[in-house]
């Protein structure tokens, strides 16, 4: 990569840090949400056969999303495939999101993921039916584990982290996460989904470096670097119990959307019956990267009360149950 291109990337990374709590102006309708508050939209969708394009469009518009002329990276949660459960963001949600962002005028929409365990990413995409059900998937898809990378200064106590150029170049990253419990972090939602932005070709399969830094700290650091984000959490059917791989399907019937990722994840936790104040990475991110207090989140669409459904929690997390 040329020096000028590298400087451009570092500039982007630096700018994203300076943006701080204000987030990405293009993605957050600050004029519509009072200062110090964030909006999160909950949209009901009982099944994957519903008109998800309309649902996501409804949510994106409620959040005031403007992506005209932007380069958008859709980042699904595509991890492993097990036909007996629901590990990954459902393909119909990814396909609908692609359609929505094209409709909203994005200049470019690509799909990228770097699974943490399996080396053959396209094979997982095949098993999860991404290749069959998303037109021209192979030409839209970037394996973020094996993309070219650039160094970004500062990651927890590490001097730098290498990140994929496709993610660093994007004007907006859409975290297309799955609503799941997580056996280390408590819950995996839009912020944890960014582990898939870390390149395996530098850090391996799994990306054990992130566990050495600390899972919670790494989640927060990645969300800090990639501030220009929008979240769409697939909670139509989530995962409860021993997530994120070996849990059981749990129907919640919702899509949760917003530009403030901690606010989106805190809302998801409340829907799942988990106290977000008990989730360490949300505590760390609160008031630093976004808001998590219920009183400071302007709920649009459905209320939490109307869609709450308690997810089963494994023993170490049972005390996280929301009263």
């Amino acid at each position: 990569m040329s020096d000028s291109t590298r400087r451009e990337f570092l500039g982007i990374a630096g700018a994203s840090l300076l943006a701080g709590y204000a987030g990405f102006a293009g993605a957050r309708p600050r004029s519509q949400t009072p200062p110090g508050r964030s909006s999160v939209t909950i949209v009901k969708a009982a099944s994957y056969s519903e008109d998800l394009v309309s649902r996501i469009l409804e949510g994106a518009r409620a959040c005031g999303l403007d992506v005209r002329g932007k380069r958008v990276l859709l980042k699904p949660n595509l991890v492993e495939f097990d036909p007996s459960t629901c590990i990954n963001t459902e393909v119909s949600v990814v396909a609908a999101a692609y359609e929505v962002f094209k409709t909203l005028g994005a200049a470019e929409v690509v799909i990228g993921e770097g699974p943490g365990h399996r080396r053959d990413t396209l094979a997982i995409a095949e098993m999860a039916r991404y290749r069959a059900e998303i037109a021209k998937f192979d030409s839209l898809f970037v394996d973020l584990n094996r993309d070219d990378v650039s160094s970004v200064q500062g990651f927890a106590d590490r001097g730098e982290i290498y990140l994929p150029n496709t993610a660093l170049r994007a004007d907006l990253i859409v975290s297309l996460a799955k609503m799941k419990t997580h056996h280390w972090a408590g819950a995996t939602l839009s912020m944890k989904n960014y582990f898939g932005l870390v390149p395996g070709c530098v850090y391996g399969w799994p990306k054990n470096e992130l566990h050495q830094v600390g899972i919670d700290r790494s989640i927060v650091e990645l969300s800090r670097i990639f501030r220009r984000s929008f979240a769409i959490v697939d909670g139509i059917v989530g995962m409860e119990g021993n997530g994120p791989i070996q849990g059981k399907p749990k129907q919640a019937g919702v899509l949760v959307m917003g530009s403030d990722l901690p606010a989106v994840d805190a809302t998801c936790c409340r829907i799942m019956g988990i106290d977000p104040e008990k989730i360490e990475y949300l505590r760390m991110a609160s008031d630093r990267l976004g808001v998590t207090a219920e009183a400071r989140i302007e709920q649009r669409g459905e209320s939490i009360k109307a869609v709450r459904t308690n997810f089963d929690l494994i023993a170490p997390f049972r005390e996280f149950r929301l009263a």
């Binding site: 053959d120 094996r146 070219d148 056996h183 070709c201």
Partner: protein
């Protein structure tokens, strides 16, 4: 074996080589160590392979390790691939010796002395035995099946040209770790056989790689049967190539392959290796 299958892939590799002598993971992308090392092995004995080795030698760091790419200044598991490549090329010079020494000096941090001491108290449940030693993807992280398998191949190939008991000891401990983390069905997950006490599934590619690393071991019948079953269940192209290599190295017959190559340089290289050059990864008989 597989004339068209192999030749079409060799052609793809030749056309995808970058001007610096390396290969990216995909054509037109920056050169990386991993696809470059695999392509160099796949094309062993050709000028393209020679150019690749010339490039890789410039990526060795002062501590003897290799970095994963020109612009990434991190010691990396790919050191094992470079040591293997040096052995295949019979280049037992300074880069080889430094590389072997680096591999001998590194292990997964789960086997650190304090962790072994903690484990010996029996107070904390462990999903794997920290007395054994494998290799990590990068320093100061835990060991995993894939880098351990590649390090074992490298050290076993290096053993005839590198004296000392330490190398043999690391091979024994590496074998022990791979056996320790074997899943209930005889295959291997990418890491341990269990997490939080719950069994984990085995995967075809890591099962094949563990069998590659365990060449010379006996009592692998169940694992080989699992690998055969995995091959019959239509695994991914990468898994299929690794399973063909592993089963061939364990003396099993494997089916012919058909189909056009993909644009994935790493998979294409390993597919070529699975046709004939898998013998370059042979490490010999019993320990």
């Amino acid at each position: 074996m597989g004339g068209f299958y192999r030749d079409a892939r060799v052609d793809v590799l030749r056309r995808a080589q970058n001007s610096d002598g390396g290969w990216g993971y995909f054509p037109g992308k920056q050169s990386w160590l991993e696809p470059t090392a695999w392509a160099a092995l796949a094309l062993h004995g050709t000028p393209e392979s020679d150019r690749a080795w010339s490039l890789l030698k410039t990526w060795q760091l002062g501590d003897g390790s290799w970095r994963p790419g020109a612009d990434v200044q991190i010691s990396n598991w790919g050191t094992a691939l470079c040591v293997t490549l040096a052995c295949v090329r019979r280049d037992y010079g300074d880069p080889f010796h430094k590389g072997v020494n680096w591999l001998l000096g590194i292990s997964g941090n789960e086997s650190a002395m304090w962790r072994r001491a903690l484990a010996s108290t029996g107070l904390f449940p462990y999903d794997r035995n920290p007395a054994y030693k494998g290799w990590p993807w990068k320093p100061n992280t835990a060991s995993w099946v894939e880098p351990t398998a590649h390090a074992l191949v490298a050290l076993k190939k290096a053993s005839a040209h590198f004296g000392g008991d330490e190398l043999q000891q690391r091979i024994r401990l590496g074998h022990a770790q791979l056996r320790d983390v074997r899943c209930a069905d005889g295959g291997w997950n990418y890491g341990s056989h269990a997490a939080l006490g719950i069994d984990l599934p085995s995967y075809p590619e890591t099962t094949a790689l563990a069998l590659l690393g365990l060449q010379g071991e006996t009592d692998l019948d169940k694992s080989l049967a699992t690998a055969r079953h995995m091959m019959e269940s239509n695994p991914s192209p990468l898994a299929l190539a690794w399973l063909r290599i592993a089963l061939s190295l364990h003396g099993e017959s494997v089916p012919e392959l058909f189909g056009n190559p993909s644009s994935d340089v790493m998979i294409t290289s390993i597919e070529v290796l699975s046709c004939e050059n898998y013998k370059l990864l042979r490490t010999g008989g019993r320990l």
